[in-house]
């Protein structure tokens, strides 16, 4: 009995982080929108959603119309509404973001509209153009790949998506924090996207393994690579492969893939190394799984953290303690990790240097979140520079007819919304490449 209620508490910890707005709240919030002209929020959205228009549509109780406005620009408007760091995107640009007022809750309003459409509309909102007779292969069923597939299919091409994993969605399914993507939203959204028709997904197909570029080139008129960053950086420390030392992304994946969260293994003294999205998500979720002490350690200061201040606050309010200016020195372990030693750092003439001060922290779990990178072996000779696939302004890689987007290329931030924009734009570029109007 006591165990049951404890398990319930853990599962409740993974409920919606931001509760959705009900109709009354949505109408009230949309009423605050000033309906700006040439609104700054539109420019701040990587997919250029016409935000004042969709909010106006919510206000006029044309909620389906609002959803269509959103989805026309961003077919993953549902996921983006849940996971976009709006505090540094649209909501940062909101003109009400002044000392006298709060920005409009654009993310929550967007979710309200898209959820309404996905729940209530029987028909997919878009139609395919006349079939062009051309075929497109998409590698990777993450946001970049699916957005590209959806738009390419809308433009009349037949699309086949090859995905290494068992399920579609990429990090929407395996990486985003569980409390942002409740009720299997990633799969629901994938199904919604597939409803357009003209898209076939084949799972367990890995480029560089059971799939190669040449074959794809022979069988398709164009190719889009949206493989994301499937490898991670290591700390280069001894004992890194002992039990209890994990990649944060693997830890998060196990949370996402376990329905009953109380069954996910978590340590009591958890150290998270890193300062980005992934580090914050790993730390907060570890805490919500019941870890007693979660310490996030970063070698520089708070200003240099790539996580937004909103996310850093989220970690703090969830009881994560944050240690700055500390670099990992060694992992102390028998069979299992036991402690970690850190050296204090500082900047000297603009460079990060170690000091003589060291300290150790107890640890029965260490989560590494110091960055993801391209799996170069998969790429079959496509040019890569500074760890990203090189593309021209039309998203075309060094190989003609092979396009790329999402985290795999160097374009804006590594965010879901940017991946969607890349996929959408690449589809238009592919369409031109195949002789259509862009």
């Amino acid at each position: 009995m006591a165990q049951d209620s404890c398990n319930n508490t853990i599962n409740n910890n993974f409920d919606d982080l931001h509760k959705p707005l009900n109709l009354q709240q949505a109408i009230a919030e949309s009423g605050r929108c000033l309906y700006c002209y040439d609104a700054p929020c539109i420019q701040a959205c990587p997919t250029s959603i016409d935000i004042p228009t969709f909010i106006h549509q919510i206000r006029s109780e044309n909620t389906i119309g609002a959803a269509n406005t959103i989805l026309t620009q961003n077919i993953m408007g549902g996921t983006c509404a849940r996971v976009c760091p709006t505090e540094v995107l649209c909501e940062e640009a909101c003109v009400l973001n002044t000392s006298i007022d709060q920005p409009i809750e654009i993310g929550l309003l967007q979710r309200h509209a898209v959820d309404h459409l996905m729940k209530n509309s029987k028909q997919h909102p878009f139609e395919r153009a006349k079939n062009t007779g051309k075929s497109v292969a998409v590698v990777g069923a993450g946001p970049a790949g699916l957005a590209c597939a959806h738009r390419a299919s809308m433009l009349g091409h037949d699309v086949t998506v090859y995905e290494a994993k068992e399920k579609s969605g990429g990090l929407n399914e395996y990486g985003l924090a569980a409390y942002k993507m409740v009720d299997d939203f990633a799969q629901n959204e994938t199904d919604f996207i597939m409803d357009l028709g003209g898209i076939k997904v084949i799972h367990n197909q890995r480029l560089g393994d059971n799939l190669n570029l040449e074959n794809l080139q022979n069988n398709y008129d164009a190719i889009f690579i949206g493989v994301g960053l499937s490898s991670t950086w290591s700390l280069d420390l001894d004992n890194e492969d002992t039990e209890g030392v994990l990649d944060a992304v693997d830890f998060i994946e196990s949370i996402r893939q376990t329905k009953d969260k109380s069954q996910v293994e978590v340590g009591n003294d958890v150290i998270v190394i890193g300062a980005g999205n992934t580090a914050i998500d790993a730390a907060v979720q570890a805490k919500r799984l019941g870890a007693e002490n979660v310490t996030l350690v970063y070698r520089r200061g708070e200003e240099q953290m790539s996580a937004t201040s909103w996310e850093v606050n989220l970690a703090r309010t969830n009881g994560v303690s944050i240690k700055l200016w500390s670099a990992p020195k060694c992992i102390i372990a028998d069979e299992h990790v036991a402690q970690m030693e850190f050296v204090k750092t500082k900047t000297k003439e603009g460079k990060l240097v170690e000091t003589n001060f060291t300290y150790t922290l107890e640890a029965d779990m260490v989560l590494k979140a110091i960055g993801q990178k391209l799996e170069l072996d998969d790429l079959n000779g496509i040019d890569v520079e500074r760890g990203k696939i090189v593309v021209d302004e039309n998203y075309q890689s060094s190989i003609e007819g092979v396009f790329a987007g999402g985290d795999a290329i160097d374009c804006g931030e590594d965010l879901t919304v940017q991946a969607v924009e890349d996929g959408k734009q690449a589809a238009h570029a592919i369409n031109s490449f195949l002789g259509g109007d862009s």
């Binding site: 109408i27 009230a28 009423g31 000033l34 309906y35 700006c36 002209y37 040439d38 609104a39 700054p40 206000r59 003109v95 009400l96 002044t98």
Partner: protein, 426 residues
Amino acid sequence: MDIRSKPSLKCNVAGIESINPFWLASAPPTDKYINVVRAFEAGWGGVVWKTLGEDPAVVNVSSRYGVHKNRGNIVGINNIELISDRPLQTNLDEIIRVRKEWPDRVIIGSMMAVIEERAWKELAVKIAETGVQGIELNLGCPHGMCERGMGSAIGQVPEMVEKVTRWVKEVVDIPVFTKLTPNITNILWSAEAAQKGGCDAVALINTVNSITSVDLDLMAPTPTVGDQGTHGGYCGAAVKPIALNMVAEITRNHDTKDLNISAIGGIETWKDAAEFIALGAVGLQVCTAAMLYGFRIVDDMIAGLTGWMEEKGYQTIEDFRGKAVGNTVDWNNLDMNFDTKALIDQDSCIECGRCHIACEDTSHQAITFDVADNGKRIFTVIDDECVGCNLCQIVCPVPECIDMVPVDNGLEYMNWTNNPLNPMNN
């Protein structure tokens, strides 16, 4: 030492003393003993009892009010209710009781009857016998009662307005208020008719004929009764501008300027009240605001009006009553050489662009839109293009960000009557 005493809200409406000018208009809030007592407890100076008719009492339908909202806020409501649906004697008994219990408050009896001398006279006498301080003639209902030849059916015909007023004046010796309908072409015709009939005051406005919305599923106007609806009387904040104008029409007209006016229509706050008084009203009546928020709103009406009068140095309501009448003129008397320009305060501008798009699309292309190197969106008025229409100031969401600044163009006062372009001057 401050020798000034606190301003007094005491007033005299057509010979009736009232502790303050705030009365409740004839409507559901003044429908029966309990409502009226609660209103007096809350501080209202008087009530006009819900309109009484001859027995048998009318029967009301179920589903009675419609609403007109904008951005979630109520702009106005309408109703399809008739007059009091309780037996006449029940109402009369309750009036006698409240008059006794609340001697310092005003009760006006409102009445309506078919266009028959006997009917008006008999009913007026019965009501006067309860001890009410005055009688109000409801010539305004634009729905239901008018289909039976009452309400606005009478109020829309000046001869009948005069006749009915005279009938009642002939049989009672207390002040008679003639309540006018706004559903007419010219309010002066009704006001003058009431005056000719001998009224002691006019009360205006009654509700405006309206359909607030259409239920697009039922395909029927709201409020729906079953699967049908009808037009009803519109009231609340939305009708205030209509009422203000009608009051001003009467107070600035030579023949009617001395008529006592009990002003009604969209009064929600002390400011609304002050505006009606500034245009010459001697008393005020409130209905919708009380229905939407309860009787407690009178607290702020009293405190707000008193505070404002104190600030302005007005000791009594008479000190500022009618002060805006002289400045309310015909268009022909406006200074055509007066010039005012919009000025945008760049520091308080939040860069929403509403002024720009309003002026660009629908006015005079007088506000430029530039983006500075640092990304700041800059909106600037081109003085030569600005005609001073106020639209940008109206749409600006930031209080006091856009100021309309009069400019000295060196030109003398000139109105249409002395303008050389006026064909009458050739």
